[in-house]
Amino acid sequence: GHLDGHLMVLGKVVMAAWDLSVAVEDLGADAPPITVSVTSDLHIGGVILKLVEKSQVKRDWSDHALWWEQKQQWLLRTAWTLEKCGIQADAGLIFMPQHKPLRLGLPNGLNLRLRVCFSGPVFRTVLGICKMLNIRRPEELSLLRPVEEKKKKKDKDLSEELYDLTEVPLTSGTHYDIIMSPSTNHMSRPCLYNGMPAHFADSPKTEKVYKMLSVSQPAPPPEAIAKLYRPASVVDKAHIHSRWLDSSRSLMQQGVQENDRLWLRFKYYCFHDLEPKYDAVRLTQMYEQARWAVLLEDIDCTEEEMLLFGALQYHINKLSLSEPQTMTSSPAMDDLDSALQCLEVKLDGADSSPQDMLLIPTACEAVITVYFCLRPKRLTLKGYKQYWFKFKDASISYYKSREESLGEPIQQINLKGCEAAPDVNIVGQKFCIKLLIPAPEGMNEVYLRCENEEQYSRWMAACRLASKGKSLADSSFQSEVQSIRSFLAMQQTNPNTHNTHTDDSTSINTHSLVSPRYSKKYKAKQLTPRILEAYQNVAQLSLTDALLRFLQIWQALPDFGISFVVVRFKGSRKDEVLGIAPNRLIRIDLGVGEVVKTWRYNNMRQWNVNWDIRQVAIEFDGNVNIAFSCVTADCKIVHEFIGGYIFMSTRSREQSNTLNEELFHKLTGGHEAL
């Protein structure tokens, strides 16, 4: 200021000293504040220095800063003077660490205790958390206040197991690091040691936590799913979005206290640059968020889609339990080079002519008897006849008897393109395979009745492979047999009584794989075969591919990625719902529940917020203007959603390693940013 200058000219500091008392959090709540003598031209850094001296505590104070309780703001500019900050003797300041522990709920239900930044904008806090947890593209995630679950008191202690990561040393990425270089490689591929970031590889305890982050969690018991909160309407869903924290302000400023609970969730549903190789945690958590959205009916889907989701969960569960290493090995050899390398190894190993290599078996024979019936006109089971059956390549042949099986078959049926459905009743010991075989005249129905479970499993597996044009020699045959067996086992152990059998890796309650609606609708013996049917189309996927497939189907749902807010449009007299999607805004009539209007962002000229009357106004091409006030969420949240999605669309593959934080704040900050 000019006044200071004037005083300096006199060559003498004539400012009066006054007492400033500051509470030091580390000394405890009961400890009296420390009083230091200051002048108004003393800068914040100087105050801190005096404080530390006077406290006579020797420790690392570098993370500490001054928090101005009354004004709810941090004094982070250490070069500013007290006068410039507007601080007088009555200011109640607290000296406290900027990083504090927080209880963080992850999409997979895991609860971590983590040291996070309470002083920077939440956007940056999330960057820090994601760096710690090895989640790339942190701008897609944010923090929200959890839904208070209406639990009975006795339940309360069971659920919350907390994994403490507050002691995990971070090699870099303290608050100052990030400030100094805002565009550090948050997106770049991390260096992994032993398949995990260095700071997790430190102790067996943290290694275990990393595994829990990067491998999907086992299916929850259906009772637990039924207990969790499920939004019952669009309005319920809208309320969830009122809980997002403001990305432009710090945790302290938003009233979050040390050890409070917050959720970390994917907020913007446009997932950029997903690379399974580097995104183990990101992919897993994304899957978990999607899975819970489906299970808790946060997103609507059809019965067929639910069954497919169920089948994929079953598959992912099984793979996660059996081979947790699959994530790190590349799932598919997608280029010729690697295929060649693979062949090369084989050649080296065999050290023989290429001729040997050509002797890969293409046909394999299995001879099993089955009872066989043709039901041309929906007759009763009278038509069953016993024949001698042979399975070869993708065809079955049948003969009058075993003796005649060396000659010509009565008939040979190619199963390629057929549908093989189970018709099984374990209690009744009925193991039928219903084959629908396409033919020029239509589909032929053939029922193969097997003698027992074992025979059924093998023949069913063979039929399934054959329908895809694969022979018994295919490497997947054994795993196919195995999965059919385990599904049969599920049907045996599941009926009605929920005897809590030990959680053997293969026995999963199929009711855990669908939302409560379908749990109620179907008994296990109805549900299991249908999930098995869907399962046959995904059984051969690798873990990574199965996760990706789950996400793809989720993303293809019509309601995917829409965040709802209840709003009141200007000139309208009733509440309506605004859906905010990655590429468009949707106006939904609450009464009818139907989309009334859609506006796409790429037709948007400008949008702005009148912070005084808290109204969002948007102008689209062709002189279309809309304005609305927000009922269920603050208009800053809506503003941030729109700006956030526009920010997400500016990301490109070319600059995949830089995060333009400034632009994010410009687009989402509102008046705070100015």
Binding site: L358, S395, Q411, G417, Q552, A556, G593
Partner: protein
């Protein structure tokens, strides 16, 4: 030409042998045609001779030329081996056949199918340049492996001789092997016909019995759908322009923003179209247009058509059951796309008493005749039909269709820039170099089949802007 003749008679001899070895007859049961391949084996071979006789002269010439170029290719390789540069490869023709409909001379589509299996020994090629010993070894090994891979693929290749009808009523005969995609065959036809190489050119299958039509998608292996035809099939393959083929990608707004009015559609900027494609195809998941509306459904077994409200989702076609709402969980699944193809129809108003002629059906490709397993739907107008048919294609084939389109765009620009300068090398190693011999004109220079590793040098004038 003597060589070719003798080879051809060898070939016929082998066919006969094979017929004899396949002596058993299928029992005429209702499943007799469930396996097309087996069926074809059991077909008498006297038909083939007949069909060869029935072949029009220039078709026979073309077939001979195709076989000849295979022979030339073999010879080429043999010669090359002597100089130590390329590998030996001998073709021995095993045989199976698919016969044709000889009654209607223009409807011939498949005449015979050849399963050529190669048995050969290979010599490691000499390195083309002097390389440091380690590198040379590595190079030799890579070559060896490549050859081994190639042979794995080469074994038992099924070939079909296919007659393709032109829109002017003439026809072309091609040899197609099972590794050739529709895209490859189209490229082949571009060369043979000197057409304008628009990306709307399609190969289309018609089934006169069902009165249906389906354009094959570019990524399909042509031999595969043809194998589903019955022995007495009257089906045809037609080479024609279909403006609908890539309409979805040229005007995505018609489908993704189908609710908007005509004026909005027409004023759509190119950049916005591109953005739409990017949003719906370039993401991790493909987005299918959210079509919905009233369609007529032909009920199983009944002759009446019932109006129902249908919705398209990535997972299939659904309808709203009576007394239910449009919410996802209430929807009933009508059909899923894994095992069926979509076909457009002609004159169903007359054939099935449909409310309009804008019908489409969904059926397993094997089904060739009327059956309760065929699903019939009928739209109010042509525009609605186009919306559903093209959107269902996208739901079924997903990103593959978009890739087909992108490749077609590239191909069109390549072809138009290189036309008359050079013939493109065939994309698959066994694709015979084409010989154009229409109406007795002198054939073009027959280029030897390039070695699999061979990368063609850019043609003269490439990219020079001339």
């Amino acid at each position: 030409m003597d060589d070719i003749d003798s080879m051809f008679s060898d070939l016929l001899g082998e066919m006969d042998l094979l017929t004899q070895s396949l002596g058993y007859e299928m029992e005429p049961s209702e499943m007799s045609s469930s396996s097309q391949r087996e069926n074809n084996f059991s077909i008498g071979f006297t038909d083939l001779n007949e069909s060869l006789n029935e072949l029009e002269d220039h078709d026979l010439d073309a077939l001979m030329a195709d076989l000849g170029s295979d022979l030339a290719e073999t010879e080429e390789r043999l010669n090359a081996t002597k100089t130590g540069h390329v590998h030996t490869q001998q073709h021995k023709f095993g045989y199976c056949t698919q016969q044709q409909n000889v009654q209607a001379p223009i409807s011939l589509s498949q005449m015979s199918s050849l399963a050529s299996s190669s048995s050969s020994s290979s010599l490691p090629p000499e390195p083309p340049k002097l390389l440091p010993p380690g590198e040379a070894e590595a190079q030799a090994k890579t070559d060896k492996i490549k050859l081994a891979l190639e042979k794995l693929k080469e074994a038992k290749v099924k070939k079909l001789v296919v007659k393709v009808m032109m829109s002017d009523g003439s026809s072309k005969t091609l040899m197609v092997d099972e590794r050739q995609t529709v895209r490859d065959v189209l490229d082949n036809l571009f060369e043979k016909t000197h057409c304008d190489s628009s990306m709307d050119w399609s190969l289309c299958e018609t089934n006169p019995e069902l009165q249906t039509e389906r354009a094959f998608e570019d990524h399909e292996y042509l031999v595969e759908p043809l194998s589903a035809w019955t022995r007495d099939s009257k089906n045809k393959i037609i080479f024609l322009l279909r403006p609908n083929k890539y309409l979805f990608f040229k005007d995505p707004q018609i489908f993704y923003l189908w609710k908007k009015d005509q004026k909005f559609m027409n004023e759509m900027k190119e950049s916005h179209k591109e953005l739409l494609l990017k949003e719906n195809f370039d993401g991790p998941s493909l987005i299918v247009p959210d079509l919905e509306g009233l369609l007529y459904l032909r009920e199983d077994g009944k002759k009446s058509w019932k109006r129902r409200y249908f919705l398209l989702r990535a997972s299939g076609i659904y309808y709203v059951p009576k007394g239910k709402t449009k919410t996802s969980r209430d929807l009933a699944c009508f059909i899923q796309f894994d095992k069926v193809n979509i076909y457009t129809t002609t004159d169903y108003k007359q054939k099935y008493k449909a409310p309009t002629d804008f019908c489409f059906i969904l059926k397993h490709p094997q089904i060739q005749k009327e059956s309760q397993y065929i699903r019939f739907l009928c739209c109010d107008d042509e525009h609605t039909l186009s919306l559903w048919v093209n959107s269902i294609r996208v739901a079924k084939y997903g990103a593959t269709l978009y890739k087909n389109y992108q490749m077609a765009v590239r191909r069109v620009s390549t072809i138009s820039s290189t036309l008359h300068l050079t013939s493109l090398p065939a994309s698959s190693p066994s694709t015979p170099s084409t010989v154009h011999r229409a109406n007795g004109h002198t054939p073009q220079e027959d280029l030897p089949e390039p070695h699999p590793d061979f990368i063609p040098p850019p043609p003269p004038g490439w990219g020079s802007g001339v």
